[in-house]
Structures are given as C-alpha cells and as structure tokens.
Assembly symmetry: C2
C-alpha cells in the first residue's frame, strides 16, 4: 500500500504524528501537499471526493479510503504498520491515550491563541500570557503526570509494554514542549524521567533518527502548534 | 452486559453523549456517581484499578474493561448496542465525525472559559466575550456547515444512511447550542435544515423521548459545558 498524507505545507503541525508513524515503519507514502501544493487539499474539504468528508487536514488516503482526525488515522494505521499490539483491548487503550494527547495538543495550541485561531498572536497577547500562566502552573504538570503514570503502568519504557505509535506521539509532544516552553520543561524535568526515557529511545530508533536529520523534518516555527514566545514561558 | 458509567454528578457534561447511546439502545447501566457520589470516580483517576488509566471522566466499565474518552467509548459501544453499521469503513467514518464533534465541544466550552478551566467565568469574562464573538462569527457557522454537509452526504436524514450514535450526539450538540446561544442559533437557522431534522427525529425516538422527560435527564445549567450567558450570545 502506498499511502497519501494530506497536510498543510510549512509546518509540522498535526500531520507530524502521522508522519512519524509512517517514517518509523518505513512505509511508502507521499506527502501530497509538499509535492503538489496546499491546493491539493481543498477539493477534499469541499466534498469533491467521495467517501469520508474531512473537517480539516491531516487526512490519509489509502486506496479509495479517506480517513481524517489524527487519532483515527493512527487507529487505522497502527495494526497495518505493526505499531500497536494485536489485541483489541491494547488498541483501544492506545487510542484512548492518543486521544488524551490530542486534547493536550489543543490546550498547547490555545496558549498562544486563546481568543481566536484566525487572529494574530499579537492581537491576543495579553490573554495568551494569562492562559499560559495557568497552563504552566496547572495543565502542563497535570498532563505530564498523567503520561508519566501511563508509562509507569506500561512497564516504564512504553505506553503498551512494547513500542507503539503512542510512544512516537509522546516523543513529538515532548520535543514540541521543549521547543515552546524550555524553561518550564526544565523546571518540571525531575517529575518525568519515564517521559524523558521514551523521548530519547524514540529519537534513537534508526528510521526516526534518519528522518529527523532529513529535509522531510521541518523545524519547529511560529506558524505551528508549538511556538516559542518568551512571554509565554517561565521567566 | 450491565454497563457502569462514571461521570460527575450535577451536570450533563461529556457523560451525556454516552448516556444518550445507552438510553436509546435500552441498555442496562448504572450511573455510578449518581448512586454512590463523585468519590466513586477518583480511585480510577488515581490508578487504583488495573487496566486502562483514564485522564478524566466519563469512563465506562464493561466487565473488567475500563474505557475512557467519549468518542472511544462510543466506538466501543456502537457495535454492541447496534448503534452503528457493521462495516469497518462506516465505523471509522462515524468515529471521525464523532471526533470532530468532540473538537467542537472543546471550542464551545472555551467560549466561557478561554483563559483557565479552573478559574471562575467572572474572572475571564472580557476574554470570554472576545472569544465568543469570534466563535459566533466564524467557528459556529463553520462547524454547523460541516455537519450539515455530512448529513447531505449521508442521504439527508442521518450521518450514516441509518440511525447511529453520531445522530444522537448531533442532537445533544444542537440542544446545547440552542440553550447557550439561542439568538445566534436562530440567526443561523436557515443554513441547517438537515441538522434541525436530525435533532427533531432523535427527540421523537421513543426511548429518547422517555429519557428526556425522566429525572435522569438533568437540565442544562451554568456548571456544564453549554452555558447561557447573555453577554456571550448575539445582542
């Protein structure tokens, strides 16, 4: 199967969780918009293709099947790329943790856009500072503690006692948080040794290491979900 | 199977999407916290039960299986309650639309809590007014148009050409929006005839009609996700 990934060019964004799974598994895929431009995405959103109607990218095309929503794409890809155990209960739990990570990603995004995703950061800067204060104080440690607890349960090295797409997504989450909130993440370092372990082990996986130094891995930037604004980090 | 639903007492909240599925199917279930108090929930969040670790309620206990995240619970219950077609592609699409609805619910919640979910509305009222203006102008019509388009594709009466748990969730979404933003919803009425149709047909289903007039259906209130504050609606 040759997969087609549809996601906006110029940022890692939510497409990156899917990309990491495809890269880790050595899957054959096309990053369609990077080859043909963002215009390749819009006909799907307008409903000009049959089947599943996506609200937004990323979506994946596998043959004639179109699947949207990051966690749903990974639910589909997991067994096909051997990135999740065979049992239904393990797949359900992997998906549950992935959905919680997706909720966290929304909160991370909203630290810099608490008022309107369609307006500039500078126009919501004061609200962003307030939201980020609460985020660093309450939400960031709460979510990190949860994922640390999940790893503890999984035997300390993985969410699921074996490598899975959820570990890959935890790597992306940690890398993005390190980029966006370097001081807050250093402050919280001691309470997340297991997360740091997963992050390092994923980075060391041969296909991931090769991907991270390739041109396909874009740098984090201030158009993406994880943005570094000094005013939003610890002081 | 006797299901156990765990969700905070006092509000419909995210538990309601699960409740509507259980009620519509005539399933046997216990709303555990309503019988034993909210304290019944916390041991699961602390990790004192084996298996899946929930980040937050709602979660469902089915035998020894614990499943969290609304859309994941419905993904699990759908085939068991015959609230989704048999085919894998239909179930994947149902789940995708449900996940988009879950994203929308976050945005609806954040209209009244754009800064911090742990702080009072009154302490983030000005930010809430700004976020709600953008929500009513951009996000509300964008999501409603999407779901209307989904219904158009499904043959106009259902998301999936037949009744499913997603229709039940659309009913809840529409009812909540009517409660929270009555003026904005009236303004947008003409662009969502299919959503209005689903909302009415779900309300008329015998088990749902019986549920809605029972004591089990709590009223919307200003502790829940859908809150009515006049300052946040059209003027």
């Amino acid at each position: 199967m040759r997969y087609e990934l549809y996601y906006w060019t110029g940022i890692q964004g939510r497409g990156e969780y899917v990309r990491l799974a495809l890269e880790d598994a050595g899957a054959v895929y096309i990053d369609v918009a990077r080859e043909k431009g963002d215009d390749a995405i819009t006909p799907f959103l307008r409903g000009e293709h049959p089947g599943s109607l996506p609200f937004a990218p990323p979506f994946l095309k596998a043959g004639r099947t179109v699947i949207a929503q990051v966690a749903n794409i990974l639910l589909f890809l997991g067994p096909r790329l051997k990135l999740v155990p065979d049992s239904a209960s393990a797949q359900s739990y992997a998906h549950q943790v992935q959905l919680t990570l997706a909720d966290f990603v929304v909160e991370i995004h909203d630290t810099h856009h608490p008022i309107a995703s369609g307006q500039y950061f500078e126009d919501q800067r004061e609200a962003a500072i307030r939201r980020s204060e609460d985020f660093r104080k309450h939400r960031l440690p709460k979510f990190l503690d949860y994922f640390e607890h999940v790893l503890e349960r999984g035997g300390k090295k993985h969410v699921l006692r074996t490598h899975s797409y959820v570990d890959l997504s935890l790597f992306q989450m940690m890398s993005g948080l390190d980029y966006a909130f370097p001081k807050a993440m250093r402050r919280l370092n001691r309470r997340m040794p297991l997360l740091r372990g997963v992050q390092q082990r994923v980075a060391d996986r041969p296909n991931i290491a090769a991907y991270l130094t390739s041109g396909r891995r874009l740098a984090f930037n201030e158009s993406g979900i994880f943005r570094h604004y000094r005013a939003l980090d610890d002081h």
